[in-house]
Homo-oligomer: 1001 residues x 2
Amino acid sequence: MNRSAQETSIRDTGRAFFESIRGEAPSVFNKGFWTGKVMDWAMKNEDFKVQLFRFVDVLPYLNTTDNLTRHIEEYFSGEDAEIPSVLKWGAGKSTGIIGNLAGKVMGKAIRSNIEGMARQFIVGQNTKEALKGMKKLRKDGFAFTVDLLGEATVSEEESEAYMNGYLELLDAVAGEQASWAALGGNGDLDWGYAPKVNVSVKPSALYSQSKPVDVEGSVQGILARLKPIYRKVREMNGFLCIDMEALKYKEMTLELFKRLREDPEFVDYPHLSIVLQAYLKDTDKDLDELIAWVREKNLPIGIRLVKGAYWDEETVIALQSGWPVPVWTNKAESDMSYERNSKKILENSDLIYFQCGSHNVRTISYVFETAKALDVPEDRYEFQVLYGMAEPVRKGLQNVAKRVRLYCPYGELIPGMAYLVRRLLENTANESFLRQSFAEGEEVDRLMENPEETLKRELAAKCAPEETDSKGLDAPFRNDELIDFTIPGNRHAFPEAIATVRAAKGKTYPLCIGGKDVETEKFIQSSNPADPDEVLGRICQAGQGEIDQAIAAAESALPAWRDTEPRERAEVILRAAAIMRRRQFELSAWQVLEVGKQWDQAFHDVGEAIDFMEYYARDMVRLGKPRRMGRAPGEHNQLFYQAKGIAAVISPWNFPLAISTGMVSANIVVGNPVIYKPSNLAPIIGYGLVEIFREAGLPDGVFNYCPGSSRDMGDYLVEHPKVAVISFTGSEAVGLRIQEKAAKVQPGQTHCKRVVAEMGGKNAIIVDDDADLDLAVLHILYSAFGFQGQKCSACSRVIVVEDIYDRFIERLTKAAECIKIGPSEDPANYMGPVVDASAQQKILEYIDLAAKEGTILVKRSVPEKGCYVPLTIVTDIEPQHRIAQEEIFGPVLAVMRAKDFDQAIDWANATRFALTGGVFSRSPKHLDQARREFRVGNLYLNRNNTGALVERQPFGGFKMSGVGSKTGGPDYLIQLMDPRCVTENTMRRGFTPIEEGEMWV
Amino acid sequence: MNRSAQETSIRDTGRAFFESIRGEAPSVFNKGFWTGKVMDWAMKNEDFKVQLFRFVDVLPYLNTTDNLTRHIEEYFSGEDAEIPSVLKWGAGKSTGIIGNLAGKVMGKAIRSNIEGMARQFIVGQNTKEALKGMKKLRKDGFAFTVDLLGEATVSEEESEAYMNGYLELLDAVAGEQASWAALGGNGDLDWGYAPKVNVSVKPSALYSQSKPVDVEGSVQGILARLKPIYRKVREMNGFLCIDMEALKYKEMTLELFKRLREDPEFVDYPHLSIVLQAYLKDTDKDLDELIAWVREKNLPIGIRLVKGAYWDEETVIALQSGWPVPVWTNKAESDMSYERNSKKILENSDLIYFQCGSHNVRTISYVFETAKALDVPEDRYEFQVLYGMAEPVRKGLQNVAKRVRLYCPYGELIPGMAYLVRRLLENTANESFLRQSFAEGEEVDRLMENPEETLKRELAAKCAPEETDSKGLDAPFRNDELIDFTIPGNRHAFPEAIATVRAAKGKTYPLCIGGKDVETEKFIQSSNPADPDEVLGRICQAGQGEIDQAIAAAESALPAWRDTEPRERAEVILRAAAIMRRRQFELSAWQVLEVGKQWDQAFHDVGEAIDFMEYYARDMVRLGKPRRMGRAPGEHNQLFYQAKGIAAVISPWNFPLAISTGMVSANIVVGNPVIYKPSNLAPIIGYGLVEIFREAGLPDGVFNYCPGSSRDMGDYLVEHPKVAVISFTGSEAVGLRIQEKAAKVQPGQTHCKRVVAEMGGKNAIIVDDDADLDLAVLHILYSAFGFQGQKCSACSRVIVVEDIYDRFIERLTKAAECIKIGPSEDPANYMGPVVDASAQQKILEYIDLAAKEGTILVKRSVPEKGCYVPLTIVTDIEPQHRIAQEEIFGPVLAVMRAKDFDQAIDWANATRFALTGGVFSRSPKHLDQARREFRVGNLYLNRNNTGALVERQPFGGFKMSGVGSKTGGPDYLIQLMDPRCVTENTMRRGFTPIEEGEMWV
């Protein structure tokens, strides 16, 4: 059949389809009911839609009437304090004034309406209800596949419970299914060939420690719980479909599907399918590989093809991470992909059973016509739609194809609400087929248009995108990409780079002064904290003599470098950034070995170093342009900045490249030559800068590498009269000492020193009573125990509002018990060793103190060799405790129980630090309150509080946490420069050239 | 005659006029010659015109071939290092490569061409040449009025020499005039009635100390030298015309004209005229008053009406000063004014002889026809044109009116060049009648158009101007107007305000803590430095107890004030600014009495205080808006600022209101409550802030007024653990002490203190070998001796390039000898007392030291009573001298002789200060070099180096001159705040609202 004939049949089929359901509409759009009215309003009013969806999300947590009415007010009261009448519809004549009885009545009505809406998409809240619902469906002629809601498991206990939920359901069904008549025929199988029991499973929930960097570990973890389910499914002659979730789980899902399918135990059982998502650009390739595998193994499988339900999330994450968007960005492209891939599946119907999951009549017609054209037997494909959605479509399908299966989620309302949000999104998106067909009454011809045509039309209507792929100084700043471990190359690069680095260990690192290598008699060794016997290198140590040499070198480099055009200085820094990017894996590998940083965090440390250079270089170009001040004619005022002079950069070991590079490159790009004192715990990583700046062509003397002990030369450097800037990041004690010493003018000193010091933190995260715990538990774990808590930004206090305390603590504790601890070289480990024995000792002492001041909730056992300390969670901590006040800089989390949100904020602010903070809350009012009153340098709402990105989250605190303005922000560079203003009188003998933009008559 | 008939006659006359000169063109436009070619090029090429006019201005100073060729290269070499061929025209085939022989030849040719051009407008360079020229003119049938070039006199000696120049000329003419035949008739008078000798005098040059604030003194000073000239004119039966110059001299010129006219010695001699300028909006009123005066006194006079030659300058000065533009801004309006006022003069021809000065044929025709219509006798008006200009016009006038007088400047080329620039401007301005008539060949009908029609046409073509007169926070910042002493009300307001203030003296001033008056047992007295016996008030003194109270008040005010909306805080500050503006004269008067500040400087100090408030209020609104950082979807980052906490403001006495208000209002507007310690030398002025902030409605405790002795409570305040910000302006020693003390963290302190300190200066002005000395001498005097040199910005070193040293020193010395010294109450005095006896003592010691280290050039005697010190200029100072290194803070100027500009820059930079600096140079290369290499906070090119204006010249230095960023600039407020960043994860359950401006697909 040629294309145009096929298009004609598709259109005819579609038209007939619509004809057969004329006048029907999905219940969700039925304006005679509350849901339909509200959906209608949401589609017309974007702000309301946002508030509604968010409210739906939080609703299950609103356990008290007060809480409920407060949230309704916060979400829906506009400036006139009026709840939109659409929402109150059906709630009687209550005025919506919260707090009175009528308001409470209304609140209850709204809750019940929304819960009703949610129930519409859920076949039941428990096994009993679900069974009843499934039976009813079968009575109506529909098959089902059942799915247990609750994909967010934060601990192995939760994963175990999830598995048990399935087993329980299957047990219940096992007792029932014999009593069910087969659909569309006789015998024990639906339609003559299909198992009556059909189960869908989201695999990631079966193993709480699943992560893309550890595919093998994840696959094993999931299979361990999937097999019992599959075993039971087989026992009852059922069918199992492995759902596809977010992209990060795709690789492990495909892998575990194949392993399960060819597992000797199950290899003879064919009723296993997997889901592919047409919206992923990868799907063509994935399907090809799957078909090849099926052919090679000659194993029949099922494939459910869907469009995909995480489009927004995938897009947002990719854009946030600097990755290529993995999904098709035009809806028509996804539709094309669906048609393309469904055809491929149908062409392989001998081995692949096709489960066509779509609500799109065009898509359905295409599949139907293609199957016909390819002579695919009817028992080789079926249609699936979602329970509670698109009722006219399922009815039409039943008319046309008979073999219709409904995807039936069941379970409690808390996970159910997340599912509801996805469904509402699907119904209300502008590009939704359902919205267009049933809510907006789009013409059938348009609805049945070949997506290739749609795409052409839409592309023609769009403007060409701007060309912004330039990488130079004039291109806008972009953050370095986060590492994407779904790309196998990225996973393989690490062990290779670590091996390379290990092969280079044991070298001696000289100082670099005035561009020359300087070897000293004194050395230190740098070693691997996971195995202190592994010595990585010997590092020369600067004393006062070397500092004098370095100052002299910097001083002679200063005049030329200071007066080099800002743009030219910026170009050198950009070259250095490019070199760093080229060496990103190697530089990351050094961090894994020298400071025990996990792969991703090591990579992001280098990424942040690159970001600092890319950002400061551009910001220098911005600041390097003199600013015209005032518009008066006859005078020309220019404001510009000049380098302050020689900078001492004193750097910590915890972000060994990022913080060093930030402080160093900022000084260099403004024109300040640098004496760089890396931490003696990360000197090899610091040495990378020597190589990089050399290769980038930085003039000699502008960057001088001078590791050494603080005792021998720290004060000497700080007090040196020629030093103009001291950029320091480290402990409060050292920072304050530097500030005090630098403030004293030394003989021969002709300027006041500028100290920019980033110091400690005692950072709190508040968990509000309506916090999304799925999110909060995981983000708090990462904030507190990522890189062993050795970040100034790390969370070391969690302040939990009483009402949610028990629920939160239970989940947190269980999640913390599951974390893997071991060498950071192994990506399966979540936590590694602390940086050295002295840090280990100090933290262990704090753990003893914690046991005295509070109650130890979690104290994990750790490897004996290496600088490990137990992951520790201590509760019953009060604001005055030392554990609540002192920076520990290790994996010790203090839990505090606050009576309400106000008290939580008070406690959060009640330390002498003000660095980072976090709040998990879904109360708009509390989030606003936190914005105003939670006084820290970087506050994070509903996410972890580490990992600030350059430009997006300029970083740094105040009080005792810092002196100076935020790194990676627009005010950073000007601290390192002196402003100058040149005023010219341009009038001579009454003659004044008038320039554009000047005041004139 | 009705209007339209008159218009017809005017047009006919004009057409006939043009007819009679058909084919003629002014020599300046004759493209057959160098000048015409260059003018043609300048009119087509604005950049070239600017460079050419500026080069003309500097040319007389280029005494050596090297200097000449260097300047030609700097002014005219573009990027291709090629001199425009038009300039080389007539200089043979030299390539213009400077430095070689051909280049030198070309340089000489260019000089000679430009000097030729200048000579074209000058009747002679000396008396002999002038006489010859005048004789020649008379032979051609033209009368003359002769004017001696050289209006810029900086000293009485120069003014005396100027007067003598006139007397010498008159002597020479006296011997000749008998031999001259009368024009147009017999007898001894031209045209039968006009004296043959006619002299024009620019009055301001006759008295170097003329200034608008001192009309009486100026009139007397000028008359003292004008009378001898007039006496001689009368002796030889001549005619004297008093020229009108810039607007600032107008009032004194009208006044002295009247005094001279009615002086009993001259009252019977009628040959005196004055010039009025039609471009001034005031001229209608001035003429009416003059006519009334003439009628009242019944004294015949002459009036020369001109359009006016300082249009650009008047406009620029008004716009720079914030004044209404005093001139008509449409050329047609000036033309209308000319016609209107000439008619008025002609209507009074019985008493007023009309000298019609115009090159505009429309204007001339109008005057001609109007005189006819009014039957004005021919012997009651004449026409005047400028020598060397508009030759066709003068020829046409001779044809039509016979009575034509040429205005003939004579004198040396140095002042001649300034005159040349004005003439070139007049010829080349877009709106120039000459340019339109003779260079651009505009249609005669258009040229003869009634200016009323022209105006209508032009206004119709213009867009309506934007409405920007709003005064609120949303209106752009505008500097407070400078005081305009040409407005008599402003002059009278001062003595009145001083009397009012004096009547209020002797009060007791309490502290203000938490909004309450607090009286203490300890007091100090504040007295008038010009008369230390005059006690102005008793001021309570805070001790440590009061500081504790004030800190407590500030602490309790902090939370609410910090969290008040930025806009609301800004509104309070704007209200305070409005109150201060209302009380501007009174607050200025206090400064005159309490610190001995001159009227204008006192007024501008208050103006600067107002500016700080207006600027910081608006800047807070700008900074108060959280900035969205990054464009990634799904996360929302906001960067904003928060008040640091309690600020201690420690203020100096020298800008007692401006600096106090700047530091105080900046802290208040960002949300920091203030403990304000005014200087004990200016506490009453400081108390003004209490009243103003009270009236403005600032909440109690936000501003606490705590004068006191540094010894009793200075350190205590600085070291107080609750103080977060210390804003200090004062001496280096105190500033460094504060820095050191503030850097030490005190028990209980939970933040690092921010010190913003403006400290000393040792500011140099460089006088390059091509400096315009007319400008340099006056501006250096002001920079060094304004307010007795008691400004951190004051010039205390002048570094003079060898080649100009003698000329400069001679003029500087003589100028310094003329300065009037005495109480600042009397506006005639340029310099007053220093602030107190201790300052006096210290400065006197430095003067003794100056005498040891160098050679005293000037040491003026001063009043015995009061804290006066001699104005002192010391020469032979070298960089290592203490007089060249230490801040004296008094009227002591060190002169240093540098071998070249490079050395001058080196010396200028060779102190530990870097506050202000100045350069007088007309070398584009040297100005650029200074921009780069003269490293100070505020550099001023070709103007004085004090009086930085808020926003236009953000003020402050580095090295030992300051810590922190510039006041009145865009980086100032952020120093007083802590930046915060709030990051919200806006994705919930995969649902992310996408906002405008975010990255999206």
